[in-house]
Structures are given as C-alpha cells and as structure tokens.
Amino acid sequence: MVARLCLRLGWAFFVVWATVSLTFLVHHALPSDPARMVAGPQARPADVVRIREELGLDKSIYVQYARFLGRLAHRAPHADASPGENHASCARILWAVHLDLGKSYQQRRPVVTILRERLPRTLWLALAAASVQLVLGVTAGVLAAAHKKTLLDHLAVSTSLLGTSAPTFVIGLFLQWLFAFRLGLLPLDGWGDSSGGHVASVVLPAFTLGLFGAAYYTRIVRDEMIGQLSEDYIRTARAKGLSGRAVTLRHALRNAYMPIVTVLGVDVGTLVGGAIVTESIFRWPGIGSLSVTAMLDRDGPVLMGCVMVTSVAVVVSSLVVDFAYALLDPRVRGARA
C-alpha cells in the first residue's frame, strides 16, 4: 500500500510537471506578443521593445524555461537575511522552501499573491457546487430508479436533459434575475464581506454550476441503480424480507458509488479551473476567470500559476478517487491477483 502510494505520488509530480511544461511550450508557440499586450495596442514599437526586455521576453525559450523552473521552488534565505528584491514574489511553503511563480506581466504583482486571493474563493465555490450537484443528482437519480418508468422518472430524466442542453449563461442569468433582482433574496454578485455573506453569495453560482452537473449525476445514478436493482443479490436481499426502500438505498446505491466518485473526481478539476462563465456572471473572482484573462492577455506567469493549481487539483482528485475505489468496493481490489 505504501509502495503504491509512493508510486502514485511520483506519477502525480510527473503529471504536474508535464502539464506545466506543455503549457509553457504551447503558450510560447502562440503567434502573439506578451509585451504588446502589456504595452497596449497603440504603444510605439520602441516602448514595446523596452518592455519586452524588461520582462525578459527577449530571451530564448530555453532560458525562460530554465529561469521558470529554477526559481519555482528554492531554499529560502536565512531568516536574518533581508528579504531583498530576489524574493519579492515568493511564498513560503514547507519550512525553508520558497515557491516563486514570478510576477504577473499585466498586474505586476507576485503570482502567488494573486493565487492566494483567489484560491479560497475558487475552492469554496467548487465545494458548494459539487455538493449541490451531488445532492440534487443523487436524490433525483435514486428517486427515478426506484420509480422506474413512472411520471417521476420521466420528470427527473427530462429535467436532466434540460439541464444538459441549457448553456450556463442562460441558467446563471435566469437565477440571477429571479432570485437576486426580482425577489431580492440573494446578493446579485460578489463574494460577500462576512462569513454569512460568503454563504449567501455562493448559493446562486453554486446552483448555476450544480444544476448542469446534477443532470449528469441523475442519469448515472439512475442507470447504475436500475442495473443493480435487477442483479441477483438484490432479489436475494428482498427475499430475506428487507423493505424495498432499504434495499434500494443500502445495496443498490452502494454499488453506484464508484461511478459517482469517478464523475466527482473529474468534476473537481473542471470546477477549480473551468467555472469561467459562472465566475463572470456572478463576479466571483476565481481561478477560472483568472486563467482566461491570463490567456487573452498572454500573461504567462499567471497562466502558469493557474495551470499549476488546476493540475494539482486534478492529480489529487484522481489519486483520491483511485484509493476510494478500494475502500468503497473491496471486490475491485480483490480481483487483481
């Protein structure tokens, strides 16, 4: 088990490195000029050239890549040494190790600072949205499966179809208009100032994301459970005198864990890095909108920071999911001789 974990951790590092390096390469290969994006469309060429040099963008990709990796993680200077210019954009992680993602070309602030502002908001939204889709989706899926081919089932399925075919901006704008503007129940946008505010402001964006996700869960859960309900052991269990509801929930749902966990694992990465439309509708400054802005501005350091966060989220969720399989369904592990 320990060896397996070590191997997986090794792979995890590899994946993060591969993603980040690939992004670096692709971003560099795009036919556009970060210095021009900093200087603006009307800057004189002389100013563009000067800014390009100032940002070190006139160097070759190898030099830039080496510089990026070199300063990514390094030993912190001694505590008594002055922080100095070289460590202005660092964040301290793990005792004496510094994490340095450089400085945003556009905002001219350390990327770690920007990420530190945004990460809690992103995680909070991702958590809320995942809960919404899990709870809604599983409930609807279980109900639909338990009442297969009844009105309830058709309702659940058609609602989920609606959910998958409606674009996020339609759902988002509608929820915003109804609950925030018309009814005034929830804040229009933003992130709130207090803990109560954070809770109130997350509701609409979480539902916007969650309603779409829930549709998928509904279908998966329903399908799994219908499958499981026809399996032999459910019949056996039912023959043993367990009530229908208990059978449905306890046995069949447990077997649907695996796909649910898998989908949830895939969603984590998406929710952390990709809630772009929702973030912009509800003015929720998260990682998703940050990375899109960074891409459109050719703000390399910020983009690399975002990719770093997203890849860590993906890797961790993938790892957790794989280990969860073993816990949730011991037979899966046992099968491999």
């Binding site: 036919p31 021009r36 004189r44 002389a46 400085k103 915003q176 109560g196 003015r283 400054p285 501005d297």
Partner: protein, 593 residues
C-alpha cells in the same frame, strides 16, 4: 403519387409551422413580459435644478473591465485613466471644454521659438501624505516615469524632450530637458517646436507623485499624488473594486464634494443594469445595446443621459503592399462602396458614421473637409478603372479572388464585417473572414506582408489630429513587426504635411495642414473609414452636475449627490439579501448606505 404526397405533406408542414409559429410567438410574448422588466424608474433628486452643490456621499461606478495597474508611469488599460485622474493632478490639464488650463502650475509661458516651457507652481499644494509639492517633485516624477527601468508604455511619445535619447539609453543619469529653477519653478526644453508637447504634458504619465515613489519605478509603491481623492491602504481590492476618499488637503478649496467614490470592476452588463436600477450603482456606461436604445427613447431618462465625445475612429484597413489593395482604384472603390448609415445599424446607439480619420471630438477636427463618401455607382466606376469591372445585373466580373479578412473575436467588428461583406459583394469584392483572438490579431496585423485586410481602429493618445495621423499613416510608423501603420501606407507628401503640422504652433495653420493631409489620405484610402464609436452615459437624477469629461470621461471632483428623502427609502423596495440578513449579517455595499 409520390409528388402528391409530397405536396400534401408540405402543405401540412407549412400549416403546422404557421400554427407553431403563432404559438411560439405567444410563448415569446409571455416570456418577454415576464423577463423583460421595463426600464427602472429614475430615483429622484432631493433639490431643484438651481440648488447649490452639497458635500458628502459616496458615488459608485462600474465597468465590465478590470484595472490592472494604478501608477501614472504605467497607464496600461482603459479604466486606470479615470481613477488616476481623481488621484493625480498635473502641471496642466484639459478642462471640461477640452482646453488646456494650468492646474498645479499657477501659470506657464512658452518661448517665442516654441522650445522652452516655463511653469510656475502653485504654492502650498499638498500631496496625499501631507508633504508640499515642489519643483523637485515635478522633475523627479518625470524622470521616474521616463527612466528605462519603468514599464511606461508611452515613453516614446515624450522623445521630443531634450536629452531623452541619452536618458532612455542610460547614458545620462538625469533628463537634461527638465530643470528646476527654485522651489516653485520648473522648465522643459524640447528639441524642436512641437505642438503635441503641451497636450502630452496634460496627459497622465508625467504627473507628480509623492516622495514615497522615489526616483525609480517600483511595483510595490502605494499610489499617492496631489489629486482630489486619495487611496487608503487596502482601498484597492484587486479584481473587485477600488474605493477612493476625499483628499482633505486638495488645493482647490471646497472640492471635491464627494466623501468617496467607488469603482467596481468585472461587473457584467446585465448585473450593472440591475445595480443601476436599485441605485447600487449610480452611473451606467456599459449597456446592453438594445437596452440603450430604450433608455434613449424614454422621456423619464432623457435629461440624465449624454453622449461622450468621439475619441476613436474605426475603419477597414487595407494593406497597400498586397494585392488587390496595392491598386489605389480598388481601395477607392471599397471606400465609396461602404454604406456607413447601414453599418451604423449594427449598433445604432453607439456608432456614428465616419468619413474622416480624425473623430469629431478631437480638437482640430475639420468638418469642412470633403472626406470619403458612399456612392455605389462611383464605386463601380473605380472598379472599372482598376481593371476589374463588375456587372451588378449578372453578378459577373470584379476582383477574381476571395480576399481574406482578418478580425478578432469578442469585438464589434465580428458583426460589422458581416455587413461589410454584403456591401462589398455589390461591387464584386468578396471577403472571407478569418477570426482569431485579439492578441493573435494584434501580432498578425502589425506584421509586414501578412494581412491583406482587417479592421483598423485608433483612439486618441492626446487630443490632436497628429495623434491619429502620425501613427496610422506616416511612413515612419511602418515596421516589419508591431507596425502601427497597419496598412503600410507611405506617401511622402502626407509625411511632410504631418511633420510640418506637428511643428507648427499656429493653431489655424496647423489645422489647415492636417486637413490637407487628411484629404490625401481619404482619397488614396489606405482605410475606408466606417465609424466613430461613442459612449453614452446615463446617471440617476440624484447624481448632480455629472458631465462626461471630454478627455477623462469622469470628472469626480465636481460631481455631487442629492438623494431624495434618504437613499434608504428607495432601496427598501429592494430589501435584498434576505438570506444574509437571516444569517445576521449584511452584505458588502449595503452596509455603506
């Protein structure tokens, strides 16, 4: 047999479709009624038109964009100038009539040969940190902004200051052209008489900054100047909002009226509309296009809205080095084939048809010039003269190849070009659109021999015709990469006229020389000018003395608020945030009411 079935089924389909159409229409009407609340009721002001300004209150504005940096030495986006204007005062500045006036300078004088400027500062002007502003601060701030280590994107515009070349090349420690003559006198020397120097000085990059800024640009500096508002520590919540408060030591007595003003960032247009309705946002400038038409048509709102002056020009830029636009007759054909009135309908409330390179809002705009015009028959004549006659009746002839047109996503041009295509097809010119994202577009359009045609657009850097003509049509603005002259247009006569006008200090003669250059440009048509974009701004009636500033959009120092019966009365209708209240808290923004 088969045809009969087809016929009946087709009839049935048609009938069904009509019925369906009617039903859909009904549904739409219902949807429309439910989902499109009419325009909000204006929130009234407390006092009559004649009332005198009162102090106090907090003004809130919003933009869908974000502000990236806040330093006069690094003005890199469209929002920063509005905020900088409230925080930093300059030696001279544009007034609400678009005229240059002394600001921090008590008075200034120009030598008769036009190369020496002498500014006498007001005494006792205080920075936000309480220190007095002196001539040393002026020189220090200029050198800080123009030093090669500063990321200033507009340094090169100030190249006419004496000693600039040595300073930017790090050959000189100081900028020779700026001298301190005593505590309150500072002088500027320029290489040649330059009509753009004062307008450029009235822009923001060289404005005096507090002593805390030091002599070199640093990213970590807390912005601090001598303008009417100041930024407290923590007042800028990146990506969300900035809040400025009154600078009590502002040198104009009694100003500003507002206690504070807040600028919200990243607010999309729908949210802004909602916020404006409730008074959570006091001024609306980013509209959904169709809603703007409604606001403008509503008599309740009409007194509280105004167009800003046009400061930008847009057109179809044609690469004069590549076929077919190396043929001047084809360019002329394009310029006369575009029906600007029709193009305007793409965004009727924001576009004004353009026939000249210099927008009407720019000092020196000359309405008497002939410019370009729309005449389909003439355009066909030009095609004939170019050697590619087109017969509209048979739709034969014209330029035999499809012309690639490069544009960018998420902009208005994506829509405009679809009309342009239809119009050019009438003279036998066929475009095919290639659409890329904005950074790619910028890189490709400025690369020599790369892009045949695409949208051209330019906004004033300073309010002078030269701010448009020099970067867009002067041959010295041609580069192999990063070319601002994106049509790679070179005409020695035009070059000479632009240069002469720039060094001409007599405004009348300057206007005439620029006019002459414009006539040639319009005739040779490196661009077919299409429209000037104009912003419309709508404010709530309780926002008093709001006037769009011709240069800075917002003049926060003179705005004042006049809420009727207390703002809470109106806002109680939208009790808002019930959940947050349930949780015993109040949401940001409402707490300040």
């Amino acid at each position: 047999m088969r045809s009969i079935r087809e016929k009946t089924s087709r009839e049935k389909t048609t009938r069904c479709a009509v019925r369906l159409g009617r039903q859909v229409h009904l549904v739409l009407l219902g949807f429309n009624a439910g989902c499109s609340p009419e325009l909000p009721t204006p929130l009234p002001s407390g006092h009559s038109e004649a009332a005198l300004p009162r102090r106090g209150g907090a003004l809130t504005l919003a933009s869908f964009g974000d502000m990236r940096t806040l330093d006069p030495a690094n003005v890199a986006d469209g929002i920063a100038p509005q905020v900088l204007q409230a925080m930093f005062a300059g030696l001279v500045d544009y007034d609400t009539q678009g005229q240059i006036q002394p600001e921090l300078a008590k008075r200034y004088s120009v030598s008769s040969d036009g190369t020496h400027y002498r500014f006498v500062l007001r005494e006792g002007v205080r920075f936000h940190d309480g220190e007095e502003l002196t001539a040393d601060d002026v020189k220090r701030s200029v050198e800080r902004a123009l030093h090669p280590t500063s990321p200033n994107p507009s340094s090169a515009s100030y190249a006419s200051i004496k000693g600039y070349a040595a300073f930017i090349a790090r050959k000189a420690e100081h900028l020779d052209g700026v001298s301190v003559e005593g505590r309150y006198v500072v002088t500027f020397d320029v290489d040649r008489p330059d009509s753009s120097f004062l307008p450029l000085l009235a822009m923001q990059p060289l404005r005096p900054v507090c002593k805390s800024a030091g002599t070199r640009y640093a990213d970590t500096w807390h912005p601090c100047g001598a303008g009417p508002f100041k930024l407290l520590p923590g007042g800028w919540d990146h990506g969300r909002q900035i809040k400025l408060v009154r600078h009590p030591g502002y040198f104009r007595p009694g100003l500003p009226y507002l206690d504070s003003f807040t600028y919200l960032f990243n607010v999309n247009t729908t949210s802004q509309r909602f916020k404006f309705a409730t008074g959570e946002q006091d001024v609306l400038r980013d509209f959904l296009a169709p809603e703007l038409l409604k606001f403008q048509a509503d008599p309740r709102w009409r007194p509280y809205g105004e167009y800003e002056i046009e400061k930008q020009v847009a057109g179809l830029a044609m690469n004069t080095e590549l076929a077919p636009f190396d043929n001047v007759e084809i360019r002329r054909a394009v310029a006369t084939a575009l029906d600007r009135d029709q193009l305007q309908q793409v965004r009727a409330s924001n576009l004004r048809p353009a026939y000249l390179p210099v927008p009407p809002g720019v000092e020196g705009y000359d309405a008497s010039l002939k410019g370009q015009h729309f005449d389909l028959n003439e355009a066909l004549d030009h095609m004939k003269r170019a050697g590619y006659p087109f017969d509209p009746a048979t739709r034969t002839g014209g330029w035999p190849h499809i012309i690639p047109y490069l544009t960018y996503t998420q902009g208005l041009d994506e829509y405009l070009v679809q009309i342009v295509m239809q119009q050019l097809a009438r003279i036998g010119i066929r475009l095919e659109v290639r659409i890329v994202n904005y950074p790619t577009f910028l890189a490709l359009r400025g690369r020599r021999k790369q892009t045949v045609a695409g949208p051209g657009f330019w906004q004033q850097d300073y309010p002078e015709p030269g701010s448009f003509l020099e970067p867009l049509f002067h041959s010295k603005s041609i580069n192999d990469e990063e070319s601002n002259n994106a049509s790679f247009y070179a005409n020695s006569r035009v070059d000479e006229l632009i240069d002469r006008a720039r060094h001409e200090l007599n405004p009348e003669r300057r206007k005439k020389t620029y006019g002459e250059a414009q006539e040639i440009i319009c005739d040779e048509a490196p661009w077919a000018f299409t429209h000037y974009y104009r912003f419309f701004v709508q404010w709530q009636p309780y926002v008093r003395d709001y006037r769009p500033h011709p240069t800075w959009t917002l003049d926060a120092a003179r705005v004042w608020l006049d809420h009727a019966a207390g703002p809470l009365a109106t806002r109680a209708l939208f009790s808002g945030d019930a959940l947050a209240k349930l949780l015993g808290t109040r949401i940001r923004g409402r707490a300040t009411w």
